[in-house]
């Protein structure tokens, strides 16, 4: 899993560049708070995370973070418009029951929304699917179909289409190659392993 941890750190650095110092940040699906902790340390962000699991909240609390155990949409509904400077949805979007609902609600409570996701259209996934004819499994997609909760893999093309259809403005994009480090020069839906979007209404 070392490789994956490394990739997560890269993700944090890219998001960190987009976060203004001392801004108010909400992380949807904050896990054990690694990203939030990084943003607090490097950007002095006023950060809060939402997650479903008690043990992850415990980890966040131990890091001195504010964290809320519960449903992310229910959480956001309790806040006024544009309460947060930025909402972050990092590698969470493919797990959501209602991605549209969450993204639109995040664009209400946040002035900006950062969405980061693994691009399922990455060429290796395509080749893998074509040759093996089975669910993609690699460093990123680690589970058998019967081991994990339903996930909803998304591609860069799918996501851009979604934003266009919903009238969501894309203010910034970052497409990274399979190493999640090098910027992707062309054909991102085929060659980018990871995508980050900054959205606004």
């Amino acid at each position: 899993m070392t490789k994956l941890i490394e990739k997560r750190t890269v993700d944090m650095e890219v998001i960190g560049e987009w976060v203004d110092p001392a801004s108010r940040v909400l992380d949807l699906g904050c896990g054990r708070g690694a990203l939030l902790h990084y943003l607090v340390q490097t950007k002095e962000a006023a950060a809060v995370g939402v997650d479903l699991e008690f043990k992850r909240i415990t980890a966040c609390v131990g890091r001195g973070l504010s964290a809320y155990q519960g449903d992310m949409t229910g959480f956001m509904r309790q806040f006024p418009d544009r309460h947060f400077d930025r909402v972050i949805c990092s590698r969470t979007v493919q797990e959501l029951d209602d991605p549209t609902g969450v993204i639109l609600e995040a664009l209400r409570v946040g002035r900006a929304l950062t969405v980061g996701f693994v691009n399922h259209g990455f060429w290796k996934n395509r080749v893998d699917a074509l040759l093996r004819g089975r669910k993609v499994r690699n460093d990123v997609y680690t589970t058998e179909w019967f081991e994990s909760s339903p996930s909803n893999p998304v591609t860069i093309a799918d996501f851009e289409h979604f934003c266009a259809a919903k009238g969501i403005t894309i203010t910034r994009r970052a497409h990274l190659l399979g190493d999640w480090r090098t910027p992707c020069p062309a054909l991102p839906n085929l060659f980018a392993g990871y995508a980050l979007y900054d959205l606004a209404r």
């Binding site: 941890i5 006023a46 415990t58 504010s66």
Partner: protein, 394 residues
């Protein structure tokens, strides 16, 4: 809360890792004390216990706040052969979640209580008789202010944390509101910023059971006397609200007290749950004062942060403490939603606040649970910042 408890495993209360023998002390304030109601006392007494020691910078105190029927004896034992230790002994002690090697733990019986602190069963020096219901009306704010005086007396410069469940959670929150610069952390569990109609209703049934007992006599009864039947019934009913359908079913089910008797066509105790509740009621009347029960339940009912300050956000505006609120899924007295709303209002007010929710089936009293998960959370909250290394693991 229920008594700490029958099914507690036998333990060696003097072993390493336990608080051990403790001696309650009295803090006597000779200064006149004005209650929120405007009524005054020439002075008051709080009975309290402390464990661990105050550090040189006088900033490692942890104030533990008890619930309705609790008291200052939250850890350790008063004698080597005590049958059970203080009510939160599982949480507090050397090396435990509230580590007495690190923290100076203070717990006081509340003003209005009946376990050594000034309350309606105290003798009014002016008459030589117990105050009864001539004792000033007590609010959570009065409990907070009096306990602050105790902490000042003990030389505490600022309190590391204020921790409490149920009514203790209310007290902890109000501490952070009233003494923002003094209160650095608040841990409130199974609590509410204001009771629902249902919770007030249960308290009212308890009060009526007491007040309709002829021995209540408008609060005028001798020590050891009073409305024993009414108080026992109040306790039996309240006890049900502290547990849950699932936990009662597991503990008692429909088990009969004397199964050999077969069907009994009378009103004697038949089910174990009846016997248990009767025992709870009887045990309670030997340790609790009926007038205190009236006063403290009234204080609980009147507690309403949103009403007192205009809104929850306004109430929390002065808070400087980092706050952690913990709800329990099976708590139907102060349900998770009411705990959640506290954390959300703190966050809306721009405060540092977390909310965690533990899945249990033990009802309101879950905050007293022996749970490694809960201990880990409490420890993480109290000992945060001490983990100096930045850890970016997943």
């Amino acid at each position: 809360m229920t008594d700490p408890d029958e099914n507690e495993s036998p333990h060696s209360s003097l072993a390493a890792g336990e608080v051990g023998l403790v001696v309650p002390r009295d803090f006597v304030s000779a200064q006149p004390f004005t209650f929120k109601s405007g009524q005054t006392l020439p002075g008051f007494t709080l009975r309290y216990e402390t464990y661990g020691s105050l550090n040189a910078t006088r900033d490692n105190a942890v104030l533990i706040c008890h619930a309705l029927s609790g008291d200052h004896h939250c850890a350790g034992v008063h004698a080597a052969d005590d049958r059970k230790p203080g009510w939160w002994n599982n949480l507090i002690g050397p090396g435990k979640a509230v580590d007495t090697n690190r923290f100076f733990v203070v717990c006081a019986n509340v003003l209005g209580g009946c376990v050594g602190s000034s309350g309606p069963s105290s003798v009014n020096p002016a008459t030589g008789q117990p105050y009864g219901i001539s004792f000033p009306f007590v609010t959570i704010l009065d409990m907070v202010r009096s306990q602050k005086l105790l902490l000042d007396h003990l030389g505490v410069a600022s309190v590391h944390s204020v921790i409490g469940g149920s009514m203790g959670g209310m007290t902890a929150l109000l501490f952070a509101i009233e003494f923002p610069a003094f209160t650095r952390r608040v841990l409130a569990m199974a609590t509410t910023s204001r009771e629902s109609a249902q919770a007030i209703a249960f308290n009212e049934v308890g009060r009526q059971a007491i007040m309709q007992d002829p021995d209540w006599n408008h609060g005028d009864y001798p020590k050891g006397g009073g409305p024993r039947v009414g108080l026992a019934i109040a306790r039996m009913m309240a006890h049900i609200t502290y547990v849950s359908d699932a936990s009662m079913d597991r503990k008692f089910g429909r088990r009969k007290k004397n199964p050999a008797n077969g069907e009994a066509y009378n009103f004697d105790v038949q089910f174990e749950v009846e016997s248990y509740l009767r025992h709870q009621g009887q045990a309670f009347i030997n340790r609790f004062d009926a007038n205190s029960y009236l006063y403290i339940t009234r204080a609980l009912d009147q507690f309403d942060l949103a009403h007192a300050y205009g809104s929850l956000e306004v109430a929390f505006a002065p808070v400087q403490a980092e706050c952690l609120v913990v709800g329990f899924t099976s708590d139907w007295l102060f349900p998770p939603e009411q705990n959640r709303q506290i954390a959300l209002a703190l966050l809306r007010a721009g405060k540092s606040a977390s909310y965690a929710e533990l899945s249990t089936d033990l009802g309101h009293d879950s905050f007293l649970l022996e749970s490694e998960e809960l201990y880990a959370l409490v420890r993480a909250f109290l000992e945060r910042h001490e983990a100096a290394a930045v850890d970016f693991s997943i």
